[in-house]
Subunit: 306 residues, 2 copies
C-alpha cells in the first residue's frame, strides 16, 4: 500500500489493534495472530455495499459498527472465540470526516465484540466494506449446520424482528412511539451477536446458524444441511416489548420470521438439555425436509442479492 493509505489506516484504526492474540498488528505485510495449542482457525468474510445493505443516509459510525457486527455474527454461529479482524475498505474519496466517524463505529464494535483490527486495505472506488473475522475453535468442536437430529428442539437467542422494525422506521414505513423507535433503530444499527452464547453451545447444541437472512431462511439452511424438517411455531417467537406494541401483530411476526439482520442465533438442542438464559424454544426438528411455519406460507424467505 502507498504511503497515503498507510497514513489513513494508521491514523484511524491502529489504536484498535491490540488484543491478547495479536502478536503483530497493522503495519507489515501481514498481521500475526496466535492461537492456543490445539485450537483451529475459524474464518469468514462479509461485505456490505452502500444503498444495498444499509440506507445511503446512514451515519458512517453506524455503518462501521454494523459491518463488523454482521461479520462477527458468523463467529457466533460457529461457536468460535474472537481473535481479530481485517477490513477492506473501498471509498469514493478520502473524506476525513466520513472516515473519522466510520472509524468510531468500527472501534466501538472492535471493543464490544473483542475483535482487534489487525490489518486492512484502503482503496478508491464505490463504497464497499469487507470485514474478515478470525476466531479460534477448540479441537474437535464446532457449531455446524449439519448436526440437527429428529426430536431436537429449535431455539433462538434474544428477540427477533427488531432489525426489521428498525429498517421499516428508517424507510418511513412505520412510526412507533419515540422510545420504541429508538430501540428498534438501535437494534438495526448496533446488533451485538451473542459470541459467548455460541461458545457455550459448543458442548450442547447439535446444530446452529446465525440469523442474518431471517429465521425461516436460516433455519432452512440447518434443515438442508442436516437432512431434516424444521417446524417453527409462530406463537412462540420472542418479540421485544417495542415490537409487541406494534398495532399489526401480523407485521411484527413477519419481521421476526423473515426480515433478517437480527444477528441472533438459531440452534438445536437434544430433548431435555438445559436451555441457556435468554433463549426461547420456537420449534422442533422432524423427519423430512424444509421449514414449515403455519400461518407464514406467503413470506419471502431471505434477501436475494441477484
Amino acid at each position: 500500500m502507498p504511503a497515503n493509505e498507510f497514513t489513513l489506516i494508521a491514523r484511524y484504526f491502529s489504536a484498535y489493534g491490540r488484543g491478547a492474540a495479536v502478536e503483530l498488528g497493522v503495519g507489515d505485510d501481514c498481521a500475526i495472530l496466535a492461537l492456543a495449542p490445539h485450537e483451529r482457525l475459524a474464518t469468514s468474510v462479509d461485505t456490505v455495499v452502500a444503498g444495498r445493505h444499509f440506507p445511503e443516509e446512514s451515519l458512517p459510525e453506524d455503518v462501521g459498527f454494523r459491518a463488523v457486527a454482521a461479520a462477527a455474527s458468523d463467529l457466533a454461529g460457529m461457536g468460535a472465540r474472537p481473535l481479530g479482524m481485517t477490513l477492506a475498505l473501498t471509498l469514493p474519496e478520502a473524506d476525513e470526516l466520513w472516515l473519522h466517524s466510520f472509524s468510531q463505529g468500527v472501534a466501538a464494535a472492535a471493543v464490544a465484540l473483542e475483535l482487534p483490527l489487525v490489518g486492512g486495505d484502503t482503496t478508491r472506488g464505490p463504497l464497499t466494506i469487507s470485514v474478515q473475522v478470525l476466531g479460534a475453535l477448540p479441537a474437535g468442536k464446532a457449531l455446524l449446520r449439519s448436526g440437527a437430529q429428529v426430536g431436537d428442539g429449535v431455539y433462538v437467542s434474544g428477540t427477533l424482528g427488531d432489525a426489521g422494525g428498525g429498517l421499516a422506521i428508517l424507510e418511513g414505513r412505520y412510526q412507533p412511539e419515540p422510545e420504541a423507535a429508538e430501540y428498534l433503530e438501535r437494534r438495526f444499527f448496533r446488533p451485538l451477536p451473542p459470541l459467548a452464547l455460541g461458545a457455550l453451545l459448543l458442548d450442547t447444541a447439535s446444530a446452529a446458524i446465525d440469523i442474518s437472512d431471517g429465521l425461516l431462511a436460516d433455519a432452512g439452511h440447518i434443515a438442508a444441511a442436516s437432512g431434516v424438517r424444521i417446524e417453527i411455531d409462530r406463537e412462540c417467537l420472542p418479540l421485544s416489548a417495542a415490537l409487541q406494541a406494534h398495532p399489526d401483530r401480523e407485521q411484527a411476526l413477519a419481521w421476526a420470521l423473515s426480515a433478517g439482520d437480527d444477528y441472533e442465533l438459531c440452534f438445536c438442542l437434544p430433548e431435555g438439555s438445559a436451555v441457556p438464559r435468554g433463549c426461547t424454544r420456537v420449534g422442533a426438528v422432524l423427519a423430512g425436509a424444509g421449514v414449515v411455519c403455519a400461518g407464514a406460507e406467503g413470506l419471502v424467505r431471505g434477501y436475494q442479492h441477484f
Copy 2:
C-alpha cells in the same frame, strides 16, 4: 447469505477449496483451518477495483488470477506457508460468463499458489474484489520490515519492471516484438509471488517486503521500519531479456524502480550470507534514513490511491 449467492459460490468456486489445512471449506458460517502445533497465523487482505488496479477491458480470468496473486504476495513477504484464502466479490450483475471466466483465473492461482478457497461472500454492486490470505508461520519467525542492519546487502528476487512494461503495452504506450509483448503482459496478469523463497528466507533475511508499489517505495518501507538508509544501484537491477530489448534503457530502469506490480521480494541479508538462486544484489543498508538511487531522483514513488 441467500440461496442464490450460495449457488453462485458453490457452482464456481467450491471445487478449489481442498487443501491439507482445510478442515471445513465453503458452506457453513465459517471455514475451519488447522495450523500445525506452535505455528501462528499470518493474514492480509488486498482489494482490487476495476479500472483502478487493472484495465477495464482485462479478461476476467486474468483479473481473478492477479487478485489472488497480489494478496498471496503479502504471505511471501512475511515468509508464511500458504493455508487458504477467502474471497469477497462485489459484482454489478450475476453475469454467468464473466463469473465462469473469473473463477477459472481464481482456480488457476489457487492451484499454482497452493491457496484453497475456503470462504466467500458475493454481493451486488460496483466490481470490487477483496482477497484475504491466510498463512502459517513457525513460532518466533517472520520476515519483518524492521530488522535491516547497517552493513546488510539488499537483494531482489526474479526480474523487475516486467509488470510495468506489460501495463505500458496494454495502455498502448509501448509496442515491442510479439514474443516480448506476450511475456511482459503475462508478467502483469499472471504474477507468481515467490512463496517458497519467502519461507526459505525466514532463517537468513534480516528484513523483507514484497514489491507491489515499486522497488523504491517498498525499500523505503524497510528503511523507515528499520531506521536505516538504503542505497540502490540502478546498474545492478535485474531486467528480463524482454525488458533489456527496450530501445530506451532509461524507461526500462524506471519501470524496474517504480512501476510496481512485480510481486517479487526485496530483502536484506547479512554480509557473507548465501544468496538464494534467482536473486540479485541491488544495494546496501547504510546508516541514515530513506532510499537513495543515483540517477532516479525524479521518479514518483508508489501509486497514490487518494
